[in-house]
């Protein structure tokens, strides 16, 4: 169905190719997962399918890409609309109209589908994706998972043979991601759609994939059976890494398969306890009492009590829109707070000046790049020093500790997501706050960057800071957090040690816990097995 013949692609002005001599054939009806580190060319590969690369992005493409026998070099992306449906990373950015029903019909209107057929297909699609009750809702008022499903529905109504999805679940909470994935699986099964999906969160999609396409970052592309290819991949999800430890061949791809083979491992781990962070948390760094945040008539946070202790990493979880961000902003003092008190060492950051609040609590917002506006990394660091009134070079030293080797003359926009996050974190840490709040920092980070970021977070806690990370990423939480707070509708519904909260919840349990509860991470299991061996 999709065929790449000796495809090489250079970005405009680049000397090394993003894709080099790619030969790839994806048969009809397959679900194909594209993996690779950030910047390895996943989006380029996906964009080439309907000709957006190179027609929209610039650059030069050699070789030939054909979909169902039609070559992208002969036709504009517009003419591929009935053949290939493309859903981008941010569904909201791709919406043209403003209500769900109109959005579903938009593609068909372009193709000149007759009104009767349009009406029928819109109803069918609403049912297929389970969004019928949203039909009249304005798109901006939908939650992330709903928006993503509408975006998929909007391309489906044109009945494309190929569906291309770029990171469809990266920004979603676990439950919303399940919904979106269920919808995709249904398309593959019921409609025989060929699906090409790129995803950082490999663990979510791997078990459904018929084929794995691996980009190694040097332009080469390898494709084949998921179980074979993932076995030695550095982007393997926890179950596969667990399989390597236990010596299961071929590795199981789903939690269910792993569980069925885990009896022996259970036996070996009997009588052992997962190693936990034994360091006693320090004194309370921040005390919040009855914090309430309201926007007009909407209550975002309802009377939340929270203590943040030094040396402790707290993960703030909960579905999209449950009040996590509002709570973080209220704790930092820059966001609105209707009532309640926040106390950091005797001072209320909400009443302090912006400078004062920043020295007490540092916050890295969801779109971290909002904080960056200068031309070079060095200029940003210098600005950070001035803002925090610290000796010149402090910010740069922090940055080197977080992410070594970033050239100072690099434009901040050209950094990878992980480096950008490190830069913003360094700027925020330069004023040496005792409390650090991070809003969705793991978005867009691949496994490597995430592992590195876990170390960063642990190091901050080890330095005596209280760290809060709002995130959807259960694997990250299992590896990094000491304590988990779950929010729903602006209230705290669970608060306790990571192992306790996470294991008891079906949505927030990491893969290893689903197989081997109470063990949470591959590292814990590895440590226990190493102990056994010695």
């Amino acid at each position: 169905m999709i065929r790449f013949d000796d495809v090489t692609f250079f970005h405009a002005g680049a000397s090394t190719p993003v894709l080099a001599g790619v030969n790839l054939h994806i048969p009809e009806g397959e679900l194909c997962l594209v993996t690779g580190r950030t910047g390895a060319g996943k989006s380029t590969l996906l964009g080439a399918v309907n000709g957006l690369v190179p027609r929209f992005t610039g650059g030069t493409l050699h070789g030939r890409v054909t979909v169902d026998g039609h070559a992208t070099e002969d036709r504009a992306p517009q003419e591929f609309a009935e053949l290939v449906g493309v859903v981008g990373q941010d569904p909201l950015a791709g919406f043209v109209t403003d209500t769900v029903e109109d959005e579903l019909a938009y593609g068909m209107e372009q193709l000149g589908t007759s009104p009767e057929v349009m009406r029928k297909r819109v109803e069918e699609t609403l049912d297929l994706l389970g969004i019928a009750e949203l039909r009249r809702r304005p798109l901006r008022t939908l939650s992330g998972g709903q928006q993503q499903r509408v975006a998929i529905g909007a391309v489906l109504t044109a009945h494309p043979k190929v569906l291309v999805l770029d990171e469809p679940t990266s920004a979603l909470d676990p439950t919303a991601a399940e919904d979106v994935l269920a919808a995709i699986i249904r398309l593959v099964h019921d409609l025989g759609t060929t699906v090409l999906v790129a995803e950082h969160r490999v663990e979510r999609v791997l078990q459904y994939a018929d084929r794995l396409v691996r980009l190694d970052g040097d332009g080469r592309v390898v494709d084949g059976e998921p179980a074979t290819l993932i076995a030695d991949s550095d982007l393997a999800p926890p179950v596969v890494r667990l399989a390597r430890l236990a010596g299961w061949e071929p590795p199981p791809l789903s939690v269910r398969d792993a569980r069925r083979r885990a009896a022996g491992l259970h036996e070996r781990l009997r009588g052992r306890e997962p190693a936990t962070n034994t360091a006693e948390p320090g004194a309370a760094r921040l005390t919040a009492r009855r914090v309430t945040v309201a926007y007009g008539q909407t209550l975002a946070v309802r009377g939340v009590d929270l203590d943040l202790r030094g040396g402790e990493v707290l993960a703030l979880m909960g579905r999209n829109g449950s009040g996590k961000s509002s709570l973080l902003w209220a704790l930092q003092g820059s966001g609105p707070r209707r009532s309640g008190t926040v106390d950091v060492g005797g001072t209320d950051p909400g009443k302090a000046s912006a400078k004062g609040a920043r020295a007490l609590v540092g916050l890295v917002p969801q779109t971290a790049s909002d904080l960056i506006y200068l031309d070079t990394v060095d200029a940003e660091c210098k600005q950070g020093d001035t803002e925090s009134q610290v000796p010149p070079g402090t910010c740069r030293t922090l940055l080197d500790a977080l992410a070594p080797g970033i050239p100072g003359d690099r434009h901040p926009r050209d950094l990878s997501e992980g480096q950008k996050l490190a830069l913003v974190l360094a700027v925020q840490l330069s004023s040496a706050p005792g409390v650090v709040l991070l809003d969705e920092p793991t978005r867009g980070l691949d496994y490597h960057a995430k592992r590195h970021f876990t170390e960063t977070v642990r190091a901050q806690a080890a330095a005596g800071r209280a760290v809060v990370v709002a995130t959807h990423d259960v694997e990250f939480v299992a590896g990094a957090a000491d304590r988990v707070v779950v929010m729903a509708e602006g209230e705290i519904v669970a608060d306790g040690p990571t192992a306790e909260v996470v294991v008891s919840s079906p949505a927030f349990a990491p893969q290893v816990a689903k197989v081997l509860a109470p063990w949470l991470t591959v590292e814990q299991v590895a440590a226990a097995l190493a102990e056994e061996a010695s």
Partner: protein, 392 residues
Amino acid sequence: MSLRDRWPPLPRTVHPGAWWLWSLGLATAASRTTNPILLVMILAVCGFVVVRRRGDAPWALAFRMYLFLGAFIVTMRVVFRIVFGGGQGDIVLFTLPEIPLPEWAAGIRLFGAVAVEQILGGFYDGLRLATMVVCVGAANALANPKRMLKALPGALYEIGTAVVVALTVAPQLVESVLRVRRARRLRAGGQKGLRALRGILIPVLEDALNRSLALAAAMASRGYGRTGHVPRGTRLLTGSLVVTGLLGVCAGLYGVMDASTPRYMGAPMLAAGLAVATAGFVIGGRRVRRSRYRPDRWRPGEFAVVASGLATGTLMYLTTRVDPANLYPSLNPLTWPEVGLLPAVAILIGVLPAWLAPPPESTQEPATAEIPAQGTAPAALPVGGPPRAARK
């Protein structure tokens, strides 16, 4: 179908064109008078119809903004008359110290004696303009502006989409500015003026640029701008016909509304413009390979709305011919404005859509309140807690 089946009208979306024609009718009526009583009546009619027939969508709440804009216009007019227009009228209220101006600025006076006539003149004038603005605001609140663009003829489709996209960009820009300003506080840069502006502008512009590129790519991959096989010449011809025609229509409308323009600028210009534009649409429409999802149709409700608006406008226009005395209350000598029967009836006809037009549909999911309370209601409650609408 008998009248009984049609009454009361069931909730549905009214064709946006109907609301626009209705509001243009009211605006025309407002442009024909400076009588404050009549103008306030028109304002009341607009407000009443909007309150009864607007939906719960965000744009429907914009009506308040137009009211503020109207108040601003009136205030500005009065203030200008006080500052610049001194010296007219006999009944002096108070005298401000006059600022002497050089010789070459003769004819302009700053401050000085403030007369009742002067203030009232400004007030009447401002109120007329404000009422016309509010009429347009009423149309905006009653009809989704984007749906109006959707009702555009096929030849104007591309322009319509461009406008729709531009309309979405504005609130998004505001949103990004707010977000980035909040984020700037986190860094406590403390810069003022241009440097602070740079800190906000660069992330916002970058955001906007990224978003528009993403949107352009998404639109292209969904088939927007498929040109098919239409020769370039035809496209140019239709384009220029349509644009020329619409310019003619605008000029014509201006002529009809403004009593002081020469007569040939009015109705004839309007008709000619319409003819040219229609020709463009017909030629353009032939090559359109797009279709329209659930288009708004003209039904009796729409005709009733349009008829009432046009009746108001036409009756007012007739009044200017028959009995114009009360439409422009005299300032010299100062008299209390009086209201004739004909203009009052004309304006009151405009309020009929408050009952005749079908009520709007709710954009929310069905709320529990809409489930008939027949004792069995709890069984009909959706599983999983209160529905979203109730939580909002």
